[in-house]
Assembly symmetry: C3
Homo-oligomer: 162 residues x 3
């Protein structure tokens, strides 16, 4: 009889929301899940833009400031490249280059993450500051959690900040 061995756990804090870093985060996440780790992705601040239901720019929120920020940040189709962004053209170019080489694109990676059982959670505090509601987000978001809860659940996890 084998004793059950605890799975290794990885928690990825998805903070930046840059197109290229989001691709990296999902690539690490799906790769880790595929190699038998338990993975949680905690989306906060700019990272929330990758989870918005509306893929383009929408002025979500109540206060003028939140509306302005959410509009400027946009959704998953507006994620900028962390460098050489050229006003957003680069993310589209990069997606073309990824397709050309049969590499999974960002929306495909989000789907794969969900299918592999990766937990996708959103940061309560960032949502409060930016006035984003869970109803504004894609259904792959399992729940909205506070930082303390996330850190408690990550007690035995490797935390990676992207």
């Amino acid at each position: 009889m084998n004793l059950p061995v605890d799975k290794k756990k990885i928690s990825i804090v998805c903070f930046s929301g840059d197109f290229d870093k989001m691709v990296a985060a999902f690539t690490v996440a799906t790769g880790a899940a595929a190699t038998n780790r338990e993975v949680t992705m905690f989306f906060t601040f700019w990272g929330l833009n990758a989870l918005k239901k509306k893929k383009g720019r929408v002025a979500t929120g109540n206060s003028l400031m939140a509306k302005a920020f959410n509009f400027l940040m946009g959704g998953i189709n507006n994620l900028p490249l962390s460098r050489l962004n050229f006003f957003g053209a680069s993310s589209k170019l990069m997606t073309m280059m990824m397709k050309q080489h049969n590499v999974a694109t960002l929306p495909e990676l989000v789907e794969a993450a969900h299918a592999l059982g990766i937990r996708i959670v959103a940061c309560e505090m960032a949502m409060k500051i930016l006035e984003v509601e869970q109803s504004d987000m894609i259904e792959e978001v399992e729940s909205v959690v506070g930082v303390a809860t996330f850190l408690n659940e990550s007690e035995n996890s490797h935390i990676i900040f992207i």
Copy 2:
């Protein structure tokens, strides 16, 4: 009789010095300390700007180059947002949005970190390159340490790079 259990340890390398990333670093740090981890924050490079006593732009240092860099980088009041910075206006807007939603602001987070017993240390090498002295920094800075010392002390820690 219970055997004493070692506390989990987290070391956060605060490299970037962006306003939003500093808020994230202190939020993770205080959250981890509150959930019973031993936390060290190691400030290096741009991160040093969050620890300067003078909160605005001062030309610290001896050489012309160090003076120019320190002046341009400024102090805790000049930390830029990592995106949509608008020449510094955004950090102020973001602070307003945080206050509006009763979220702790950056100076409050620094105080909380200190009160929770989080070790705040500064990188010797970065201070040497940028010609910043310990006397230029806030008193919450416990000590100035080399990279080797920091890494030695972090042997059993999770290292998070922000």
Copy 3:
């Protein structure tokens, strides 16, 4: 008789390719190797620029897009500072400031890493997207590996994303 104790392992994902972050990555890597850890550096995306044989801008690749990206990104001599870049002048200034204070420069750190037995590997997927070949890279690159292989080999490592 002492049982052999496994070395602590650190895996650094070198994603950003900013000059200052590359210095930080190699400083952490060499410091960790010097304090008896087994270190792997996994270079991906912008990070690949630090490993290119040609130190300046060369239009590597086959497709027009890859050529444009590789030209714009350049090599180790074109790594930008993550802030206050001033069209590349800052990395040169920073190198001068580092030399002035007898701090190891980036090419010296690469050499030191290699001498300390740090594994330098390059990301297969990023090379495919950006159409970079192993022959385009410096000989310190031990091998080209896929994300899954890297994650498998890092099962017991702390993963740091820079």
